[in-house]
């Protein structure tokens, strides 16, 4: 790579096919969540859900260099992480519809969506719940002599949980291969980071635990992937953890019960203008990775995949009611 190459990091670093696949997955996240939202408003999805529409760039760029052996821990706003890590949207829809074919056989739903085979250890309903678990996964990799890393997604809300501080400290003391990725969307439910967090940037917390901390534009695919590239390299080299803060925004409410009393329309519209998918698409077109027609084709593929996924989910069988206690314990053990 020439020093004079001033193209964005992602364009320089990744093959065109990889970049097109990344765009596809970002569209897939968006269309998946829209489809889930539509199914929800029709009463076909039970409970609630937390949509990450507007945060697709952060999810996809963070997972760009991860293999299936690398682990992630995810959050209650985890649909994007799951798809970015390689999950199948049909089985995700099946889970949301509570079907036996879902990733969690209808026991987990949106808030516990996971795909262990692609290294996603699961979304978590407890804010900060995934942080120590990610450190544990990193400990396993180190103890078992693997070069795998663990990416720990968490939100700005979690940075004020004790689990955050304990986890960063332990990971640093033990130099574990974990990257803490804070998706800072500005609000823990309705409370803004300004009102809840003593430091202006969550990445500043890293200093207390003697690890690098970086704040990037979370809607800029290239900026996020570059920050992760550096952090992953450090982790794989055995130099320990990093903290990356992706500044982003959720277009929708906290959950489906959100009445949106704490944000202005102007603020939401300003962030919608910074749509990470539109930006990444324009960047790929600008650098000749694909043309408008190619981008449209990718977007159309995502729509088709989502429709197919919903059909699959609807056609799937519900869990047997007599199996309500199945999966509480290992089956052979009982």
């Amino acid at each position: 790579m020439m020093d004079t190459d001033n193209r964005p990091f992602a364009i320089r670093q990744y093959a065109p096919a990889q970049l097109r696949e990344a765009l596809k997955r970002m569209y897939l996240i968006r269309r998946f969540e829209e489809g889930a939202e539509d199914s929800y408003t029709r009463g076909m999805i039970h409970g609630t859900m937390h949509l990450s529409i507007g945060q697709e760039g952060s999810a996809m760029a963070t997972c760009m260099e991860l293999t299936d052996d690398d682990k992630i821990t995810s959050t209650h706003r985890g649909h994007g992480h799951c798809i970015a890590k390689g999950a199948d949207v049909g089985r995700m829809f099946a889970e949301f519809f509570g079907k036996e074919t879902g990733y969690c056989h209808g026991r987990g739903g949106s808030m516990h969506i996971a795909d262990v085979k692609t290294g996603n250890l699961g979304a978590n309903g407890i804010v900060g719940g995934g942080l120590p678990i990610a450190v544990g996964a990193a400990l396993s990799a180190k103890r078992l002599g693997k070069s795998d890393v663990t990416v720990c997604f968490f939100g700005d809300g979690a940075n004020n949980e004790g689990a955050f501080h304990e986890s960063l400290n332990i990971a640093s003391v033990w130099k574990l291969p974990v990257i803490f990725v804070c998706e800072n969307n500005g609000y823990g439910m309705s409370t803004s980071t300004a009102r809840s967090t003593a430091v202006p940037h969550i990445a500043q917390r890293a200093a207390a635990y003697s690890m690098p901390g970086t704040t990037v534009d979370g809607n800029d695919f290239s900026a996020v992937s570059e920050a992760l590239h550096i952090a992953i390299a450090r982790a794989r080299a055995g130099e320990g953890p990093s903290l990356v803060e992706n500044l982003t925004y959720r277009w929708r409410g906290h959950s489906k019960s959100d009445r949106n009393r704490y944000r202005t329309k102007e603020e939401i519209e300003a962030w919608m203008a910074k749509d990470p998918i539109a930006r990444f698409r324009a960047e790929l077109i600008a650098h000749g990775i694909l043309d408008e027609a190619g981008a449209d084709a990718i977007a159309a593929e995502a729509v088709a995949d989502v429709q197919k996924g919903i059909e699959f989910a609807k056609a799937s069988a519900a869990p047997d009611l007599s199996e309500v206690t199945r999966y509480v314990y290992a089956e052979a053990a009982l």
Binding site: V116, I126, A138, R143, A163, I170, A330
Partner: protein
């Protein structure tokens, strides 16, 4: 305190005697020797040897990478153990006192216990939490509790309370062989008690109670240190011709329903003794289980429970002793029950 081990549990004829703490240590050493994925985590378990010296010298044998002193971070430490268990290690996490597990409730109850279910059977968390437990040491309210029933309420966990060195070793090895999270409550007063312990590796089955003393007049269900107090009370009652059956409640979850019901059908009278606070405790569960079963028709007296006073564990040694069941209180309750005075 010397405890006769139940003859049915061992065919080892050697008279090797170890303390309860030594038996646990031996189990950990055997497991670590056999399986490189077994690691120990906890506060001051390395050169210090743990608050109760249970891990003494293990760091010399297995090194600091496998005998890991954690920062004083119960939530983080327990969570790291959960994450490690989820991804291929078999951690044994020692809480310095079981009371401190309350700082880690989130990881134990919301994560370890539920991950397999939430993920539809696609994940396993084979972690073992060691829980030094109970009163009698003068450590007062925050270092003396018996909170095993709390975890008995959580599907996904297994909750054990070995009463003898032999079981302490066999249950720890069984817990490590189990694919689900297991909490082992070790009574602090038992650590120095000695008893016969077989050589080598063996598994004490999880979920099985044991009739430690056969009798016909009434049944006492008790575990951990309360088993020993109940056995002692039973010997005193035998002098007066009251023949007590004593069941060692080695496993709280899963509970051995059949052993308890069979005994109640035989004796018609039940006394449950436990060190946790009496209200909403292990005794409530066992009493209800019997009352709901066909064994109800065999009850010839009300079910009695003896548990801790409705107060935090007090400091004053006499108060402390009075706050939990002792041999004399067990004996008195059993006598009243046998004599139809309740």
């Amino acid at each position: 305190m010397n405890v006769q081990s139940n003859p049915v549990t061992s065919d080892d004829t050697s008279a090797r005697v170890l303390s309860y703490a030594e038996a646990i240590r031996e189990a950990m050493a055997i497991a670590m020797q056999a399986d490189p994925t077994v690691i120990l985590m906890g506060e001051d378990i390395g050169v210090y040897g743990g608050a109760f010296q249970v891990t003494l010298d293990l760091i010399d044998r297995f090194g600091p990478d496998r005998v890991m002193d954690t920062p004083i971070s119960e939530l983080g430490g327990a969570g790291v153990a959960v994450g490690a268990a989820l991804t291929g290690l078999k951690p044994i996490f020692e809480f310095q006192f079981s009371d401190f597990a309350m700082l880690a409730m989130e990881q134990i109850v919301n994560q370890a216990a539920k991950l397999r279910y939430m993920l539809g059977g696609e994940a396993a968390v084979p972690v073992v939490f060691r829980m030094p437990s109970g009163s009698g040491t003068g450590a007062a309210a925050q270092h003396s509790q018996s909170i095993e029933a709390w975890f008995g309420h959580v599907p996904g966990l297994k909750v054990l309370q070995p009463s003898t060195p032999e079981d302490a070793k066999g249950m720890l090895l069984a817990a490590l062989a189990d694919p689900d999270p297991v909490m082992i409550f070790e009574h602090k007063l038992l650590y120095k008690t000695r008893g016969h312990v077989p050589e080598g590796s063996y598994l004490t089955p999880i979920g099985k109670a044991l009739v430690r003393r056969a009798g016909s007049d009434l049944t006492i269900v008790a575990g951990s240190i309360m088993l020993h107090r109940a056995l002692e009370a039973a010997e005193k009652l035998a002098v007066d011709g009251i023949n007590v059956e004593v069941i060692d409640l080695r496993s709280i979850r899963p509970i051995d329903r059949e052993t308890i019901l069979t005994s109640v059908r035989k004796t018609g009278k039940l006394l449950v003794v436990y060190e946790g606070v009496k209200a909403y405790g292990v005794g409530a569960e066992i009493s209800a289980m019997v009352a709901e079963s066909d064994a109800f028709d065999y009850l010839d007296a009300p079910i009695l429970r003896l548990g801790a006073a409705d107060a935090p564990v007090p400091y004053n040694p006499d108060l402390e002793r009075a706050s939990v069941p002792q041999v004399d209180t067990i004996e008195a309750a059993a006598r009243r029950l046998a004599r139809r005075e309740v």
